[in-house]
C-alpha cells in the first residue's frame, strides 16, 4: 500500500496550484456550433459544386409501352438542360450579368414560342371564330344554318337549340331542344346538317373542373384541381324536327380549334396540352377520346411527332361520318397549332415562333410561321408536309387554296429588345422592346410538297401593320391599320403576278372588306361625330382592276352604329347573298345626346338606342336599302338568311320573318 499512500501525499499541493491546473470545462455549445458551422459549410459546398443534371431522367422502364417513342420525346422536351454547370456557375453568371444589366443571357439565334415573348411588343394571337374563305364544298359551321324547311339556331344561355319553320309570315319556332348535358350552356355551338337533312351535328366545347391525384416532390400523392377541356360532337336525328332524338356522340378531351363539313364528313380539329404528366398513365399525356363508351387514349399508331419537339401540345384531327359520327380516321400531331384552315382537300395548321439574333446591345426578334399541310380524302388523313415562312399568319383568312396552289400572306415584324436597360420593375420591362418595322409578304406554295414557288416581300408601308386579308376575284386584298385606328389603307395584290396595285388615297376611313362576288368587294364602317354619337354607317362597294381599288357605290345610313364589327370580326354575322347582291347586318341606332328619346321601355325609361337589322342590295352599280327592321339581340349573334322572298333572322332573343321586295 505504500504506493497508494504516496499518491495521497500529493494532497499536500496548494489549492492555488490545483486550481491552476484544473481541467477547463469543455465548451459543448462551441463544439455544437462548430459542428453546425461545418455542416452548413459542407452543405454550401455541395449546393455550389454538385453539378446539375445534364441529361433527362431515364424512361426505360416504359420501353414496353406502345407510347414509348412519344414518352421519349416528351421526356426529352420536358427536360430543360441546365445552362450552368452548377450553382456556383449560375451565381457568378448572374453577378456578372447584373453588373452588365441585361436581364436575359444571350441565346444567340434561337427559336421560342411566340406566346412567350415579353415586353411591349407582343405578336398577335390568331383570331378565333373568324371564318375561312372557304371553297363552296367546305362548310365550317356556325351557330345557325338553313335547312330545306327549317332554320336551326343554337346559341342560348341555357344551351337550347331552337328550330324555326320557314313559312313566310307564318314562320314560328317549332321546337326548343336542350342537349342532355349542362356543360354546353352559354357556349356557342357549331351546327352541321347532313346532305340528306336528317342529321344535325352539334359541335360544342366546354371546360370542366376535375380532381386528379398527383405526386408531390416527396413522392406523396395529393389531390389537385385542374381544368379539362372537351369537344363534343352530338348527332341529332332531325328528320322530324318536332321529335328530335340523340343518335350518337363523340367526345374528345381537347380544346376546340375548328370544325368543317366536306363531302359527307365532319372534320374536328382540337388541341390538347398534357398536364401533370405521369408516363405510367397514358391518360396524362395522350389525348383521350370516347366514341359512345369510356374515354380511351388515342392509339399510338395515330400519333405522329416531329423529330424534335417544339411543344408538348397536340393538334388532334377527327374525321367523322356526318350521319352517324362513325370514326373514319384520327390524327394526333404532337405539334402545337395556333390556327387551322380547312380547304377542299387539305387541312393547314399554323404556328408562330420567333427567332432571336443578338446585335450589339440589342436582340432582334423576328416571327416566323411553321405551316403544315395534312391532306385528306374520304378515307382519312394523308401524309404531313410542312414549311417555314417568314412572318405571322394571323388567321386562316391569310391562306387560300386555288387551282392547286396555296397562297399565304404573312405579317412580318422586326422588333428590337434592348438588353442593357436595367430592370427596375415589370413596368420597365414593358418599354424594352421596340417595333422597328412591320410589313407583309405573300407566298405561293405547292400544297403537295409545301415548297415555296414564288414570293413577294415588303408589300406595304412599314408603319401600317397588316390587319386582315381577303382573297377574292384573283386578288389578295390587304387591310392595314395603325394602332390609333386613324390611318388605314386597303391595297390589293394580283395573285397571278404578285403585283401590288396602287393604293388610292381614300377620303374616308377604310375597313375590312368582304367579297360580294362578281368582282366586287364591300366594306362597312361607322363614322362618329363624337365618342358617343355615331354619325353614320357607310357601306361602300369597290371593284378592283389593274389600277387598283375604285369605289363603285356607297350608301350612308344615318345614326347607325355598326362598330361591333371592328372588335368582334365574326364574318358570319354579315349576311351575304352573292347571287342576288344582298348584304345584311345588324346595327344599333342611337339617339344623339340632348335629343328627346324615340320611345320608352316597359318600365318607362327612355330608350336611347334600338337594335335593328338592315338588308341592302347591290344591283346595276348602285346600293339600295331594302329593309330596316327591329331585331332584338346582340348584333354579333344575329344571323339572317334570304329565301323565297323573305328574310329570316334569328338571335338568342328574337326571330323575324319579313317579306323582301328585291330590286
Amino acid at each position: 500500500m505504500k504506493n497508494e499512500e504516496m499518491l495521497l501525499a500529493m494532497n499536500l499541493i496548494d489549492d492555488k496550484f490545483i486550481e491552476e491546473a484544473a481541467p477547463k470545462k469543455r465548451n459543448i455549445g462551441f463544439r455544437i456550433a462548430m459542428v453546425a458551422a461545418l455542416a452548413v459549410f459542407l452543405s454550401l459546398l455541395a449546393y455550389l459544386f454538385i453539378p446539375f443534371r445534364s441529361s433527362p431522367p431515364s424512361v426505360r422502364e416504359y420501353k414496353d409501352s406502345e407510347y414509348y417513342e412519344i414518352i421519349q420525346k416528351l421526356n426529352e422536351f420536358a427536360f430543360e438542360k441546365p445552362k450552368y454547370a452548377n450553382n456556383l456557375d449560375r451565381l457568378l453568371s448572374s453577378m456578372i450579368l447584373s453588373q452588365n444589366a441585361p436581364d436575359k443571357p444571350d441565346h444567340g439565334n434561337t427559336m421560342t414560342e411566340g406566346s412567350d415573348t415579353e415586353g411591349s411588343i407582343s405578336f398577335e394571337d390568331p383570331e378565333s371564330f373568324s371564318k375561312d374563305i372557304i371553297p363552296p364544298a367546305v362548310n365550317t359551321g356556325d351557330i345557325a344554318l338553313l335547312g330545306d324547311g327549317y332554320l336551326y339556331y343554337d346559341y342560348d344561355e341555357k344551351g337550347y337549340l331552337s328550330i324555326y319553320s320557314l313559312d313566310g309570315e307564318s314562320s314560328k319556332r317549332v321546337k326548343r331542344y336542350i342537349l342532355n348535358y349542362e356543360a354546353n350552356a352559354g357556349v356557342p355551338h357549331k351546327l352541321h346538317l347532313s346532305s340528306d337533312q336528317k342529321t344535325l351535328s352539334v359541335v360544342s366545347y366546354y371546360r370542366s373542373k376535375e380532381w386528379i391525384e398527383v405526386l408531390n416532390a416527396e413522392g406523396y400523392p395529393y389531390e389537385k384541381e385542374i381544368s379539362v377541356y372537351y369537344c363534343r360532337v352530338t348527332a341529332l336525328d332531325v328528320s322530324d324536327p318536332k321529335n328530335i332524338t340523340e343518335r350518337s356522340s363523340v367526345v374528345l378531351r381537347a380544346d376546340y380549334l375548328t370544325s368543317a363539313q366536306v363531302n359527307g364528313k365532319i372534320i374536328l380539329a382540337a388541341s390538347y396540352r398534357p398536364k401533370d404528366i405521369d408516363f405510367s398513365d397514358p391518360s396524362t399525356f395522350v389525348p383521350m377520346i370516347a366514341t359512345g363508351g369510356e374515354f380511351e387514349p388515342i392509339p399510338a399508331k395515330y400519333i405522329s411527332a416531329p423529330e424534335k419537339l417544339t411543344s408538348t401540345k397536340y393538334t388532334v384531327l377527327l374525321m367523322l361520318d356526318e350521319n352517324d359520327l362513325a370514326l373514319t380516321d384520327i390524327r394526333a400531331l404532337l405539334s402545337e397549332s395556333s390556327d387551322i384552315c380547312v380547304t377542299a382537300e387539305s387541312i393547314y395548321t399554323t404556328r408562330t415562333l420567333t427567332a432571336e439574333q443578338k446585335s450589339g446591345e440589342n436582340t432582334i426578334i423576328t416571327p416566323y410561321t411553321v405551316i403544315t399541310r395534312i391532306p385528306y380524302s374520304e378515307n382519312g388523313f394523308g401524309r404531313v408536309a410542312a414549311n417555314t415562312l417568314e412572318g405571322q399568319i394571323l388567321s386562316h383568312n391569310f391562306l387560300a387554296e386555288s387551282d392547286g396552289v396555296l397562297y399565304a400572306v404573312t405579317k412580318t415584324s422586326l422588333v428590337s429588345r434592348h438588353n442593357k436597360l436595367p430592370i427596375y420593375s415589370c413596368c420597365m420591362c414593358m418599354h424594352r422592346e421596340t417595333l422597328i418595322a412591320t410589313n407583309a409578304n405573300i407566298y405561293r406554295l405547292d400544297p403537295q410538297s409545301m415548297e415555296i414557288l414564288s414570293t413577294a416581300e415588303d408589300l406595304c408601308r412599314i408603319d401600317l401593320p397588316l390587319a386582315s386579308v381577303l382573297y377574292a376575284n384573283g386578288y389578295a386584298h390587304l387591310s392595314l391599320s395603325s394602332s390609333d385606328g386613324k390611318s388605314e389603307q386597303n391595297l390589293s395584290v394580283d395573285l397571278n403576278t404578285f403585283t401590288v396595285l396602287p393604293a388610292k388615297p381614300s377620303e374616308k376611313t377604310s375597313s375590312v372588306p368582304f367579297d360580294l362576288g362578281g368582282g366586287y368587294i364591300f366594306t362597312i364602317r361607322t363614322e362618329y361625330e363624337s365618342f358617343k354619337n355615331p354619325k353614320e354607317t357607310v357601306v361602300e362597294v369597290f371593284m378592283t382592276d389593274d389600277s387598283g381599288q375604285s369605289s363603285v357605290a356607297s350608301l350612308v345610313i344615318p345614326k347607325a352604329d355598326c362598330s361591333y364589327w371592328d372588335w368582334i370580326r365574326i364574318d358570319e354575322c354579315i349576311c351575304i347573298d352573292r347571287t342576288l347582291g344582298l348584304i345584311g347586318f345588324g346595327i344599333e341606332r342611337k339617339q344623339y345626346e340632348g335629343e328627346e328619346p324615340d320611345g320608352y321601355d316597359a318600365d318607362g325609361y327612355p330608350e336611347f338606342s334600338e337594335d335593328r337589322y338592315l338588308l341592302l342590295q347591290f344591283k346595276d352599280g348602285s346600293l339600295s336599302l331594302l329593309l330596316d327592321v327591329p331585331l332584338a339581340g346582340s348584333n354579333h349573334l344575329k344571323r339572317a338568311f334570304y329565301r323565297d322572298g323573305y328574310l329570316y333572322a334569328a338571335t338568342p332573343d328574337d326571330f323575324i320573318a319579313v317579306p323582301v321586295e328585291l330590286k
Binding site: 500500500m1 505504500k2 504506493n3 497508494e4 499512500e5 504516496m6 499518491l7 495521497l8 501525499a9 500529493m10 494532497n11 499536500l12 499541493i13 496548494d14 489549492d15 496550484f17 490545483i18 486550481e19 491552476e20 491546473a21 484544473a22 481541467p23 477547463k24 470545462k25
Partner: protein, 185 residues
Amino acid sequence: MDDQKIIELYFARAEQAIRETEIKYGGYCFLIAHNILSSREDAEECVNDTYLNAWNSIPPNKPNPLKTFLGRITRNLAINRYIKNHAKMRSGEADLILEEVCEFIPDPASATSLCDEYALKAAINSFLSSLPKKARIIFVRRYWYLTPISRIARELSLNENSVKVTLHRTRIAFKAHLEQEGIDL
C-alpha cells in the same frame, strides 16, 4: 450560483446546496474520480460520496475555494476506492502514475511528525512555485488529477512525447529539490 451562496445553502442545511454543487462542480469531481478509477460507475458513486462528505463537513468548514475542497474530497475518496479495488487486482491510470510518484515522493508513513509533513508540504509547493507555468500545470494535472498523458497533451495542445519529457525532467528536478531541502526519500 457563486460559491458563497452555495456554502450559505450548506449552512442553511438546504438540500438545494447539493443540487447546486452538482450543477457547478459535478463534472469537475467526476473527472478527478474517473482519472483515478477508470470506471464510470465507480466515479459516479465516488462523486455522490463527495456530496455527502461535503454535506457532513460544511459546516463547520467554510471552504474557500469550494472547488478544490470538493476536488480534494473526491480525490481522496477515489484513491481510497482505488486502493480497495486494487486489492481485487483492478488496474488503472493510477497504477502508472504510482510508479512515477515512487521515484520522487517520500513515503508519508516515514514522516514521523507533523513537522515533517509541514516540511514536505512546503517543499512541494515551493518547488511548484519555481516551475514554469506550463510545467507546473502538467505536473499537477498528472500527479494530483491523475490525468492520462494523452489527455494532457490534447488539452494543452502538445504532443505526448513533450508531456512525457517535461514530466521526466520535472521529476528529476523535484527529487533534487527535496534532497536539497533535506527531505529523505
